[in-house]
Symmetry: C2
Subunit: 217 residues, 2 copies
Amino acid sequence: MCPDSAKNYPVPSVRRLPLYLRLLRQLNAQDRKSVSCTHIAEHLGLGTVQVRKDLAMTGIVGRPKIGYPVPGLIGAIESFLGWKDATAALLVGVGSLGSAILGYQDFRSHGLDIVAAFDMDPARVGQIVHGKQVLPLSQLAQRAAETHARIGIVTVPAAAAQDVTNQLIGAGVRAIWNFSPATLEVPAQIIIENVRFVDSLAVLSQRLHQLEPSDSP
Amino acid sequence: MCPDSAKNYPVPSVRRLPLYLRLLRQLNAQDRKSVSCTHIAEHLGLGTVQVRKDLAMTGIVGRPKIGYPVPGLIGAIESFLGWKDATAALLVGVGSLGSAILGYQDFRSHGLDIVAAFDMDPARVGQIVHGKQVLPLSQLAQRAAETHARIGIVTVPAAAAQDVTNQLIGAGVRAIWNFSPATLEVPAQIIIENVRFVDSLAVLSQRLHQLEPSDSP
């Protein structure tokens, strides 16, 4: 049952886990007790081998003719991702993207609790954005210590991103979730995950270009 | 030189192409004429086999002792992704996330031109956001026809996302770039690419949980 803690799991497989979780939570809300690999695969447009392999990461293996236990699999995915309890996060940069992230309702059910938001702009400090008062960066270290925040969310422009990242790491966060287009340098023990819109755009563009090579309508 | 147009390229490889492009554009700005696979791999923290395989998708193969021609490889990646010319896109939903997307400077150099922005909220219609006047949804079909927009960007809340997607497809877009958490249904010939923040969060959370299984500081 216990996944190997030293293993490097394939990123595409880990990225698919929220997709399974969403479906499983829907099934659970409908009081479904078990679900087959085939059902999951068909519903999500994936291959059964892929689904079995992805879910095996969590330590749960489906049983022939019965499938996966729905509540058990939800628990296993949540445990695997560390989503059983929400992890405290600090967000820096309450511009339009930072405001969007602050207002995103789904994060709480995905293990993330943004406990404080900061900005460098004096005009933004003190404002209430999605129920959070925007704090000055000078309070970062103190709030990090008080909240035991382990994740720093970077939603500042590229030019400010490295400095903000350094301050977040200095304040004790262990992971940086970078929404800026900047390529950030972090010490080896710090986890960094970049949300790069252009990576997703590349996938869309390549498919579109393959389908319709000409730009003419 | 010509990539196989019927092929399904691996999504993780396509997602990495903007990373290569960023580095290559930097090297080109420094007037570097060629670059080795090893240099690219080391600079980006990837394996050389992976880099060679990813770049081979574009039809360019590095030469022993010389490497890749920098301008040639930039051109090959841009051609492969359809980024030689910008593709027109319409954005629907000018809330905080939509505003952030509208203001994102990097898209133009990644083949995307957001030509018009729309919102359902009468209070937002008519406002200027990052130089674009917000239009009512009633003008969607007309503007789509005038601009030959092929991409629809969905930045509305989940509850409105399917309806907006249907309208965009009805207006003639061929691809949907979905930033809402909704799972959208589209006809088979329509390309859909979802930007799901929680997928990225899963990767970050899993690594953090693996590093520090306990939530205690």
